[in-house]
Symmetry: C2
Subunit: 439 residues, 2 copies
């Protein structure tokens, strides 16, 4: 029986969860793999606060105690953020150690530098925990769906945003109130920007796209909108039309170019993604062979993320024992086959739309609005006009058939410049029915 | 670049799909793995009917052309059923070849003989396609969730049964009519027994249980009930109570013993499993670390199943190239750590129940029924009694709180022996809310 020694950098929420998973499951992992996976050293600046129950694990403030220990095979980085995480990972690689990380910000923005360094050293980098928490989604893309050209990725990849939207849906409460509540119970961070503005979701989409399509993608090329402008009234109208509003990451493979965007989306209520509750994540792929596949689970949290980190550690441990390092390429395609990705400009997107226009409650308004939309090749599927006063305006809600984003932007600019429309129009994109995930 | 040669036995629906996947995806698999995976030989008794587009693949009626070919590394068995599939697989193993199969009947009933033979020969047996079609569920259990004690398995694992129940739900049509329709369009087989009586689902549950719990399970120990006795009226009542009826495989890990059963189940309508539409499958695990995970996709069909078969072929090809055969044990636990499983007798099951009692429409009936239930420790949660005549009887529908199966059987035997209850009572088990899959 071989012992694989592990060093862990960062003993925060996920770090302590990972230590707990490795400790709790040690006997099971031995029964499954035949080897002993041993957490040897934990490095954290607040080493004093690490509980004693870790047993004979060495605690240190100095990461060099990990990099310099020839017994340590695998380094787990769980401090998050770009620096010093990046420096630590590159040092671990330079020391000939394999790396496991949950750091989506880092992998999505500096992944290539890290993977190239790892390739040069002949070590592996595991990052299952960077997308979808405990859901084995990276492994599914790299191995389970290996014989597929992935045609689309659609997912709810941020549990905080999903929790807030669900609360708003169930209780009709406004965004700010639900956010404050979520912060109080620890479901949202003090600075929630990354979660609610879709940035965290975009990080994860970049990672999945690289593996699904075998292409480099730049984070800044992903059009990203968050949920902070969604109001309860939009959720209510969505329901009337048979939709639920979800923050989705969407990427569609058109062969020579690829759509990639993160925005609130109206999802048909019978679609699997419409029914992802609470802080859960759901990631949907369409493969040219397998059809629709959805993977669902807790996208964050101490133990689920620890479960994914441990799975990566086991994967690498197996490769160490069997001498099969880099048996599966880190990014699913072999490095020489990864190409530069071309992302479709957002203006060229075509999809159905929901518009909530706040217009003066006077005759002829609808005709004016319909005229502007028609002139821009936007066809109306249905209209709800309710005379509920809101500072002198009424909401005119319009569902439009598939139209181009550029036409929509032009039309809404004109509408929003009208005297009868004093408030900015709310626009929400609608998931097309052909993507309904039910075949 | 290494070439891995594959022989395929059985060119039916899944066989031709697999050939198509390997052909269509050959370039992609090379870009991902760096090796060439080549379908060298196809053996089928109706070799004449194999289309010419397979190119330079050798066609034969004689399986010995595969077993005797020293170039062939991996044999895919896709003829289904017990014999001659079992003999062929054992011969392939004896010839030193790795095996990939989609044969759930065989793996669930003769798996140990096959896995032992493979272990003795140092070859691998892949069976991802035997459960959940294209969904990478076996890989998830063996690798992605490796650091978990699986606490429960719950799944819709038969697309035909799910399709029929959904059609009955959406259209209010009776079972026989929907079945006939499904047979006409090829969604159900001429002899649908395996699908509609839960036998196919039980096969798949046995396979998942072995890997989830590391235990041998006998097919005959799984209590199995099908959907042929479900009537539209039950579906309607289920809806009134907020449930949908699904054919579920359920296995709960109680440590020293394990529940294992297949039966129609009332699932809370917001549960992910309640929303699995069409011919889709959904398989739900609860892991002690990861929490709830659901994997969803097409559980059958030519291309999805071919996708899973191809994934197994790639997995084994990687192990051949890297010299890492049996890197992951076939059954997730190493053979010496797989124990004999003890399945809880069905009588000891405790869960909430739905009863539809057909009773004479006369005063005092409810009191009699309630008396019998109460005497057997069965508490009533709610009752719907509608005076809709059905040959002199009215349906009395009762939801009962958690009760033991043995009490329920006793109570229903007494109720069904009453003169006022001339028709057998329908009983459907209810999925408990604590399993609601939403955390």
């Amino acid at each position: 029986m071989k012992t694989i020694n592990v060093g862990l950098i960062g003993f925060g929420t996920v770090g302590s969860g990972t230590a707990e998973v490795l400790h709790e499951q040690a006997a099971r992992l031995e029964k499954r793999t035949g080897h002993l996976i041993r957490l040897k050293t934990v490095a954290d600046l607040n080493v004093e606060s690490i509980p004693a129950h870790l047993g004979d694990v060495k605690l240190t403030k100095d990461v060099e105690d990990i990099f310099g220990d020839p017994e340590i095979d695998i380094v787990i980085e769980l401090i998050g953020g770009i620096e010093p995480a990046k420096t630590f990972i590159l040092k671990a690689i330079a020391s000939g150690k394999h790396v496991v990380t949950a750091n989506k910000a880092l992998v999505s923005q500096h992944g290539m530098e890290i993977f190239n360094a790892a390739a040069a050293q002949g070590v592996e980098v595991g990052f299952e925990a960077s997308v979808g928490g405990g859901i084995p989604v990276i492994k599914a893309l790299k191995e389970g769906l290996v014989a597929n050209n992935i045609m689309s990725i659609m997912g709810i990849m941020n549990g905080t945003a999903n929790y807030i939207l669900n609360k708003m849906t169930d209780e009709g409460a406004p965004f700010q109130e639900v956010l404050a509540e979520a912060q109080e119970i620890g479901y949202a961070e003090a600075d929630p920007t990354y979660d609610i503005e879709g940035i965290d979701t975009a990080h994860k989409l970049v990672i999945l796209m690289t593996m699904a399509f075998g292409m480099h993608v730049k984070l800044e090329d992903i059009s990203t909108e968050g949920i902070s402008s969604i109001e309860p009234i939009d959720i209510e109208f969505a329901r009337e039309f048979g939709y639920r509003i979800k923050l989705l990451a969407i990427s569609v493979n058109h062969g020579d170019h690829v759509e990639a965007r993160v925005h609130p989306t109206m999802v048909p209520e019978r679609h699997m993604l419409a029914n992802i509750g609470g802080a859960y994540n759901g990631i949907h792929f369409n493969g040219d062979m397998v059809g629709n596949v959805l993977l669902y689970g807790l996208g964050a949290g101490k133990m689920p993320t620890g479960s994914a980190v441990a799975a990566d550690v086991v994967d690498i441990a197996r490769n160490i024992v069997h001498g099969s390092i880099n048996r599966v390429p880190s990014l699913s395609y072999r490095p020489e086959n990864i190409t530069a990705g071309s992302i479709t400009p957002m203006e060229e997107l075509r999809c159905p739309y929901y518009f909530r226009i706040s217009a003066a409650d006077e005759p002829g308004v609808l005709s004016t609005l319909a005229g502007i939309l028609g002139k821009n090749d936007i066809s109306i599927e249905s209209v709800i006009q309710k005379s509920r006063e809101e500072g002198g305006t009424v909401p005119v809600v319009i569902l439009a058939y598939e139209a181009s984003e550029s036409s929509v932007r032009k039309a809404l600019a004109e509408i929003d410049s009208l005297d009868i429309c004093p408030v900015k129009t709310v626009k929400i994109r609608i998931l097309q029915d052909r993507d309904n995930g039910q075949g």
